[in-house]
């Protein structure tokens, strides 16, 4: 009970950030980049083992944007000129221009590499169909629904391949799900296509948005575990669950804020975990940071993960006493 894990991404060390820039400019070949990505993955897996995290992630050292990564490897997508995301930040948004498909598995090879480095379970990490649709332009499918359901089939194939390769946990992230509450049913239907009949434990991570609008349908998401950010909302989400009676799924409990430089104290995380234990059963809770840690420095990320593990262990011990 109270297993510890991370949400997905971990920061890239400086040498890898530099190498990626060089590779983009054509100054570094794919093989050299790959070696550095493998090195960074190895380092993060060792770090997670040393921290004694129960369920490991590969840290996504070889991925950039979580939608663009899949759009790059799936067929049917092309990339756009720059569009603004906010302030002075721009990105290239994928455009669906044809039938979405998959030439070969996208994430399985990296998953096998990571799992080969540790005896602890490594999560398979996918981006959900609704999020891939919402974060892309669509010139091919007649509707948002048609695009989402078509993408769902392809993500499904990827999930099956991960399961076949041995993944015990498969996470399908849907951060866009809170953007349009009126499309929650579509997101649920699409996620159902991805997870139907899988034996692996399935997880979805949802972040930033109007929780009140989507909360009432949260239990309908067809996954075993729902991972949410609790820390950056001061654990106010607990009140929502308290009011609604027993939640029928496992909950990924984000206990450290990924957007702040401040390292939480073990004591405050312990206190928050105890609050959560008044709402959820211990075997229902997985403990992790709020979201992917890629925007923190490697040192901050490691420190935050250490706090997650130390606080969880302290609470576990009290529970056993």
């Amino acid at each position: 009970m109270l297993l510890t894990t991370s949400v997905g991404s971990l920061p890239k060390p400086d040498y890898l950030t530099k190498a990626r820039t060089q590779a983009r400019k054509g100054e570094l070949d794919a093989k050299a980049l790959r070696e550095l990505e493998e090195r960074a993955t190895r380092e993060w897996i060792r770090t997670q083992e040393e921290l004694d995290i129960d369920i490991i992630v590969d840290g996504e050292q070889y991925r950039g944007d979580m939608v663009a990564y899949f759009a790059e490897y799936f067929s049917g997508f092309k990339t756009s000129e720059l569009v603004r995301s906010y302030g002075n930040r721009y990105y290239r948004k994928p455009i669906i221009v044809g039938k979405v498909g998959r030439r070969k598995p996208v994430t399985v090879e990296w998953w096998k590499f990571a799992q080969g480095l540790t005896t602890r379970p490594v999560k398979g990490m996918l981006t959900g169909p609704y999020t891939i649709m919402d974060w892309s332009f669509n010139e091919y499918y007649p509707s948002r629904r048609a695009a989402t359901l078509a993408i769902a089939q392809v993500v499904r194939d990827e999930a099956e391949d991960l399961e076949r390769a041995g993944a015990q946990y498969i996470q399908i992230d849907e951060p866009a799900i809170s953007t349009r509450p009126e499309e929650m049913d579509l997101a649920i239907e699409a996620l159902g296509i991805v997870t139907k009949g899988l034996r692996a434990e399935t997880i979805t991570h949802i972040c930033y948005g109007d929780f009140n609008a989507i909360g009432p349908k949260l239990h309908k998401l067809p996954v075993d575990q729902i991972d949410l950010e609790f820390a950056n909302r001061n654990f106010e989400l607990l009140d929502f669950f308290k009011k609604r009676g027993r939640f029928p799924k496992a909950v990924g409990l984000g206990v450290v804020d990924v957007h702040s430089h401040r390292i939480e104290s073990t004591d405050e995380v312990i206190a928050n975990l105890k609050k959560a234990l008044k709402v959820f059963k211990p075997e229902q809770i997985y403990v992790d940071p709020d979201c992917g840690l890629k925007t923190r420095t490697p040192e901050e990320a490691t420190q935050k993960l250490r706090v997650v593990v130390e606080a969880t262990k302290a609470v576990r011990e009290e529970l056993f006493d």
């Binding site: 720059l82 906010y86 302030g87 455009i95 669509n138 349009r180």
Partner: protein
């Protein structure tokens, strides 16, 4: 029919006026470039954006809001009482704006957009419209730590925006537009929104417009027709029911219809646009009809944004009743 744009336009254009704004802003933020140097770059891009609109055949232009971080920041940062805070989602889009916090009574200490307006209108012989956030939307997008009540805040903003609107009209704006996307989301106090618009448009010696976009306007057009503004903007793309809602409304004002999707790269056909013109032409005489994309074109990469403007011009020129 009068062709126009809604507000913003891509700030960078890889195939045209370059992406230099990104580097210029970065250097300006690091204080390596002066305010005047930033202004110079913004003016160059504004001029290019105005030329593109002229070449596309638009009748009424905008300045493209090249300096604008989002709809609210340019106004909030020049008023006393506000602090610009963290990122929030821009309605139902994967795009973000900075949420202003109101700490003390808001005060307008001088013109906000008048200099920018004068520069833009000096770039062309065609009319350039002035665009402002509407008071209701402005307040919906702020965090209020001063009034702690919607009504006094909205009415105060209406007074402030009225002063600015009058100044813009005096500077030569033939149309002053208030953007009110927030009325289409959640539980809207439409009576308050209209009361505020009436204040904002009072005594403005120009045509006044209110533009709505993204949301569901069902049931709101009848009250909007009673607002003391000359022109009502409706987005016919985002919500398919909006055209039905318009058909049920007695249209007593000039109408502006958003008929190209500013949020998707797929280019509308001339035939599709003609079908919309025909349907709306039954509701309002064509000389009282403005046609435009459904929102600012900044969601799109530059190539597709320009293609949409050109397509609009093409469709209007080839339309025969």
């Amino acid at each position: 029919m009068i062709t126009t744009a809604v507000g913003n336009y891509p700030k960078v254009a890889e195939g045209a006026y370059s992406t230099k704004l990104i580097g210029t802003i970065t250097k300006w933020q690091r204080k390596e470039l002066s305010d005047a140097q930033l202004e110079d770059t913004c003016r160059g891009i504004t001029r290019a954006v105005i030329q593109e609109q002229e070449q596309a055949g638009l009748d009424v232009l905008t300045d493209g809001q090249i300096r604008w971080e989002d709809l609210v920041t340019p106004v909030a940062k020049r008023l006393k009482g506000f602090e610009i805070n963290g990122l929030s989602r821009w309605f139902n889009n994967n795009m973000y704006y900075r949420r202003p916090i109101l700490d003390k009574a808001p005060v307008r200490t001088g013109p906000i957009l008048v200099d920018d307006y004068r520069f833009a209108s000096g770039c062309t012989k065609k009319p350039v419209k002035a665009v402002l956030p509407g008071p209701y939307t402005f307040v919906a997008l702020c965090e209020d730590r001063h009034f702690k009540a919607q009504r006094p805040f909205v009415l105060k903003m209406a007074e402030i925006l009225n002063e600015e609107a009058k100044a813009l009209a005096k500077a030569g704006a033939s149309i002053v537009q208030f953007d009110e996307p927030a009325v289409g989301f959640g539980k809207t106090n439409i009576a308050l929104a209209i009361e505020a618009l009436n204040i904002a448009a009072r005594g403005v010696k120009a045509k006044t417009a209110v533009y709505t976009y993204f949301g569901a306007l069902d049931g709101l057009f009848a009250p909007l027709m009673k607002a003391k503004v000359d022109l009502i903007g409706a987005d016919l793309v985002s919500e398919p029911k909006t055209i039905q809602a318009l058909k049920r409304t007695k249209i007593t004002k000039e109408l502006a219809i958003g008929c190209l999707d500013a949020r998707n790269t797929k280019l509308e056909s001339v035939r599709e646009l003609h079908a919309i013109f025909r349907a709306v032409g039954r509701l309002v005489p064509l000389d009282r009809l403005y046609v435009n994309p459904n929102a600012g074109l900044e969601f799109l990469p530059h190539t597709q944004a320009l293609a949409k403007l050109k397509r609009l011009g093409e469709a209007v020129r080839s339309y025969k009743r």
